[in-house]
Symmetry: C3
Subunit: 423 residues, 3 copies
């Protein structure tokens, strides 16, 4: 491969980024920045792309495109998750075309080269005697399950600190038994904005006025630092504090970890995890806050658990409730287009129409995703103007600031690396 070069104007924009302000326009619109994001972020970081529950049995697979990289995530014959580049080792045809399915072997649709679920080439028709099948197994991609969430990493050497992060978040996730859960629904939404606008949108509730459904059960103080809560929201905050105290007692009783960990910046695998109260009945994202599914995740004894909120740089967030969980994976399609893949999980024995109503279950986040998609599109259209200049973040947007600073740190690392490679 030739050495990738970066133009001076791109390097300058990275160098001059002003902390506390949104990013300059080209970060969201320029093809060179898009290529840099793929190189510095999406081919280096661990990415959340699927859940164990989507591929419960050997041969079950799901496919995902990470920028230009088509990838297969499947369960092998031993029951372990595996990931491979979705590219035949013969003449490069895309191997699996469907979004998900189940196979015995992976058979290329072009000339029938046949791979096992371990990626080994088992059969290649019409090859001469000296053909060495051992040289043509599928190219593996790192994959790892963390409490039922599947992460892949395209890099040869994945970030070293992910294991530590996994070890810290897994205790929060395990009691909900997501790995054995049932996939109640999956949706794919293409948003007309850069992937960073999708992530930034999710990192603040300064815009939550635009989410009437979600706001029913979100405390209006969500996303604010304690000291920044405006006066009109004080009564809601009192209610929040009461609910919070009650929840802490429940968490202690059930042995559920609940301490806030917020390490969004200053490390490679930035993340944030927290259990947080919900308003009204406090059980789930429904109009009155009561559970949407009668069977509870992990068979925990109460649905009144608030929500476990997890964010992981660069591309995912999660809500785990007493009755269901929702996972979100953002995947770049183009400088101005991003795929948001959303998955709803319920108890493995929950029956649609009996234990839960699908529409009720999906309603709030389907609406919220669409509302966010419109805001993201609006932001994309505005930052595409050469007249746009970065503006200041409000205190309640500190997580957006943390995301951008984390992101800029990744680009700087990448540019230093390239500088080092230059002859």
């Amino acid at each position: 491969m030739s050495i990738v070069t970066t133009s001076d104007s791109t390097q300058d924009a990275v160098a001059r980024r002003a902390v506390g302000h949104s990013l300059e326009g080209p970060f969201y619109t320029d093809r060179e920045f898009y290529a840099l994001d793929l190189a510095a972020i999406f081919t280096r970081q661990w990415l959340f792309v699927a859940v164990d529950a989507e591929i419960p049995w050997p041969g079950d697979y799901t496919t995902v495109d990470i920028g230009p990289y088509p990838v297969i995530v499947l369960r092998d014959d031993e029951g372990n998750p595996r990931a491979f580049h979705n590219v035949c080792r013969h003449r490069g045809a895309r191997l699996l075309e469907d979004r998900s399915g189940s196979v015995g072997n992976l058979v290329c649709g072009y000339h029938k080269w046949t791979y096992g679920t371990d990626g080994a080439l088992r059969y290649a028709p019409s090859q001469p005697g000296d053909f060495d099948r051992g040289c043509f197994g599928l190219k593996a991609v790192h994959v790892r399950s963390v409490g039922g969430l599947l992460f892949v990493c395209l890099a040869d050497d994945p970030p070293a600190d992910f294991g530590e992060v996994a070890a810290r978040i897994e205790p929060y996730l395990l009691p909900h038994r997501l790995r054995g859960a049932k996939v109640a629904a999956r949706t794919d939404l293409v948003e007309d904005g850069n992937w960073k606008l999708v992530m930034e949108n999710n990192r603040e509730c300064y815009h939550c006025d635009g989410h009437p459904e979600l706001l029913r059960t979100f405390f209006p103080t969500y996303g604010y630092a304690e000291e920044d809560i405006p006066a009109p929201l004080r009564p809601a905050h009192e209610r929040y504090l009461r609910t919070d105290a009650e929840l802490r007692a429940t968490y202690e009783r059930l042995g559920l970890p609940y301490a806030l960990i917020e390490e969004l910046d200053g490390r490679t695998t930035g993340f944030r995890i927290q259990r947080d109260a919900l308003d009204l009945a406090g059980e789930s994202f429904t109009p009155d806050g009561t559970a949407a599914c009668r069977r509870l995740l992990g068979d925990l004894p109460t649905p009144r658990l608030g929500h476990l909120a997890l964010h992981l740089h660069p591309n995912s967030w999660f809500h785990v409730l007493g009755d269901h969980a929702i996972t979100f994976s953002a995947l770049p399609l183009a400088p101005d287009r991003t795929l948001l893949r959303t998955t709803w999980l319920v108890h493995p024995d929950a029956e649609e129409g009996v234990d839960y109503d699908r529409d009720t279950l999906l309603k709030v986040w389907t609406a919220t995703n669409e509302q966010d998609a419109r805001l993201v599109a609006r932001a994309q259209r505005g930052v595409s103007s050469p007249a746009y200049v970065p503006g200041p973040y409000a205190p309640t947007e500190y997580q957006v600031e943390a995301f951008c600073s984390w992101y800029i740190a990744r680009l700087r690392e990448e540019l230093r690396l390239r500088e080092g490679l230059r002859p």
Copy 2:
């Protein structure tokens, strides 16, 4: 901002342009030329984008995209036209999404930053005490009304000669009272061609055979220099001369300026204005030439006024008749796509269905625009061939030649400027 560079091949093409011939292919197809056009023309010149009559009351607005720049044109609380970049000063969301509408304040749909009609930031939620709203007003765009026509300029220093042009054309326009007129209709047509092909198409009637509806009332000699009128058109020319003499008497009687001014080249704000006769009844663009609207613009005493034809570089042309006026604004969307925005104006008290029939009013120029769009698309497809070589203009195309020479002069100015900026 980094210094914009221009490749040698682009500079060479500008340098070698042959007067009297159409432009080379890359001027119409190449992304670098498109960027150069935006820089040298659309962010430097005054551009016609709307009419006063679209925004009669405070808070009324219309939006327009000038290349990548979304712009708001609105009437402020004092009744003056204002223009702003349609970009929020917070995180850059597009502020107003609709094509037109009416607002009290301009409220960003993302986090509710709220601006007055003067562009000042009035309210920004959840900001710390030291937040200085004075630093975050909307970025203004120069705007100016000339006889009811609204021009904007994205440059910091708009061309100095526009005031003089405005002073010379305004007396022609004022008697028709366009500022207080009623907008009878607006259409947006996307043409599959470079913006220059759209303008060139409008600068000659060598192709007018393709406009059967328009030709009903256009004298067939339209666009010809006197000495180039071909023999078969002499009888029509005689008829034209008679009508012209009659019209001059009318103009004198009513005090309507009518002298031809033609300064298409050799100045920054190239323009051409003329009152000209129409054939048949001579009143309007209708099958028999009679007025399409019973109420007359400016309450002038006769509809038989021919048409006032105004062209303005780089992007507009106008026809003002006794009974209605039509404005045309061409806006680049891509190297090979241009938006043509057409607006029909009538007397403020004219009632649709009573004083005018909408279909009759729109018919000729809707048909003509579509015919021109097909010709423009055809030209775009041909000049995209590497085998295309510029051909010679006929005498009747002298205004196309003037447009191209004016355009090349602007590019040369821009390239000289960049040369001067180079370290």
Copy 3:
């Protein structure tokens, strides 16, 4: 014209191509390679684009786009095929818009410049007396009929060896009298893949499992070198050998040339021609192998002729049967899109509904084209992954290897030429 430059990474990829392996990804996806292909292949080589039978009479024309070059192929008043750039010499409008038709003169739809079928400018309205029409004839494109197949070449100096190739393949074609045939059908299919993937797909039958309709009459050994035929196909091969012996006797009796010529690599105009047996009734591409058309091409005495298979680099292949012929022309539209133009020819007196059923005639290759298009799209999607690495060709893919080696040789020639032009 400025000197075209080629980046180092492109030159390196050409230099390091590994014989026996598929091409690296950028050859199929990169805009620079696409431009190089147009320069080195599509503007240098003879290209099959139409058949004589599409333009039987003076004034008949067909249009074709060769990359960015729109071209007219027409029959002139003398009855000879001619080809011109489909670009008006005035302001460059595309001259003929339709896919095909018939004209007396070629009249530009913009300003009515009028050209004869010999390309000469006959009439240009409103030009001054000193206008020299002789300078503005249509720009000619080389054209040549070979046994009823029309080839064009955009280069000033077409490849010198084409005459020799034409002389060697014409005797195979002439007995079938394609020039006087009737066009029974023409289809245009846009495939979502690079033009080379379309050609490579056609150069092997390793994937023919995916063609159930075609396989009815293709011997399963098609495309294999004798020594590579796998054991399970031996019985079919015996049947093939019997049919082949019978056919040779027929060819000798009728004086039909049938020797295999295979010069796919090592020369500028790579080609392959062969008469080959068909299975079942052995007459045509139908479910039972019997003729689809009762009238036979060239009035030959038997439909049992197998098929004459002709391949020509860079963009065509042909099947000539006793009862009909099918021609295929692949034309690049974009790095990842190719037009496949297919034409079915029958005896000039064959009547649809009487001598042949249109659906039966078209069925096999319509289905086969669609199946191949899906495979090509799949290959395009896979080789677009940066994780794709070229894989090894099986012996049965030797013609794909020959195509790629021929192609790389053309690129190397082009790059040497550019090297020589560099100052």
